[in-house]
Symmetry: C2
Subunit: 204 residues, 2 copies
């Protein structure tokens, strides 16, 4: 059975949703970040990066949300969570998810994780101040140039949708009005109405 | 014919190498960042993110290095650049490349691109000062826990190798001694000895 290590409110929610969408047989294992459980020797033995999500299968442990999402799509093909037989369309899905991980999530992380990249309190305040501007600009880019509708990639739900939803949930705490992005706002409600999301929301 | 938009010294080198390794029929189109050619209306019409690499095929434009590398591996299977028939091993390749894009490249970017995340000159100086510490820690993590040897994923060369090589080339300007990481140092020389790299090095 698969095991998903996650923490509430983190990007691990995307993998959690995808496992539900896939109908996977999995066990969710919650880490309490307030108790720094991601720094425990037991967890570091699973993921030396001390981050979630981690998906453990019989073959070993996988990290990084875009890779985990693609793995779930590939190993549960009946769920049709990605265009597996079209390398170009599959790459577009991967490109969108990579944009979320390497640009959008990173912009958000400068609110509370600025200490990763700078030391002075004034720098951390500066980074935090800029988060609403950056997250707004990136969401506008998604709204205007990437989002096809009604799902991210068009008519078909894919592993892009739970990931965008997961990050869009951070906008309020990032001091960004999601209502400025009507397509993304409607998308959030559509994702939230899915049984897979209803099943895992109480854990997040 | 494929078209690769790139700029010397950028992460686009990884895709450039992979196209050579694949034996792809492609045209390289160089952008001059000193002339802000990535901001031109012509290029923004291809990639609204104003970044390289972009790989254009008959189907359209692809962005984001991990997605482009996987696309090259999938569309040139004879080159055996990724474990295409093993979703778990393929996901491990993707996870490594995602780590490079969302963590290592991002750490490097705080040297010259700090203005993406903060406004004050003192913050940008602070970020720049921290780059050697961060890049050293991340390379140590790769050296100790990810790099299998002699290639990133073990006995078989993959799309992880040109990407690690591309980023390792930045270490000197990031004020990090690559000699501190003997596996990565040997790996750089091994990658550089490949005909595909010799073919594209004059352009970078």
């Amino acid at each position: 059975m698969l095991k998903l290590y996650y923490a509430p409110g983190t990007c691990a929610m995307a993998a959690h949703i995808a496992l539900e969408e896939a109908g996977a047989d999995y066990e969710g294992i919650v880490l309490d970040f307030s108790k720094k459980q991601q720094q425990s020797p037991e967890f570091l033995a699973i993921n030396s990066k001390a981050r979630v999500p981690v998906l453990v299968s019989h073959a070993g442990a996988l990290t990084e949300t875009p890779a985990i999402l693609a793995y779930i799509a590939q190993t549960y093909p009946d769920a049709q969570l990605a265009p597996l037989n079209n390398p170009f369309e599959f790459a577009r899905v991967q490109a969108f998810n990579n944009y979320l991980s390497s640009t959008v999530h990173v912009a958000h992380a400068h609110k509370l994780r600025g200490h990763r990249w700078a030391d002075e309190p004034s720098s951390l305040d500066d980074m935090n101040r800029k988060v609403p501007e950056n997250m707004s600009a990136l969401m506008q880019m998604i709204e205007d140039t990437m989002f096809e509708g009604p799902w991210v990639m068009g008519e078909t739900y894919s592993i892009c949708d739970p990931y965008l939803y997961t990050i869009a949930r951070w906008l309020k705490s990032d001091r960004v009005e999601v209502a400025k992005f009507p397509k993304i706002q409607v998308h959030m409600a559509r994702v939230e109405a899915r049984p897979a999301v209803k099943a895992i929301l109480p854990h997040h």
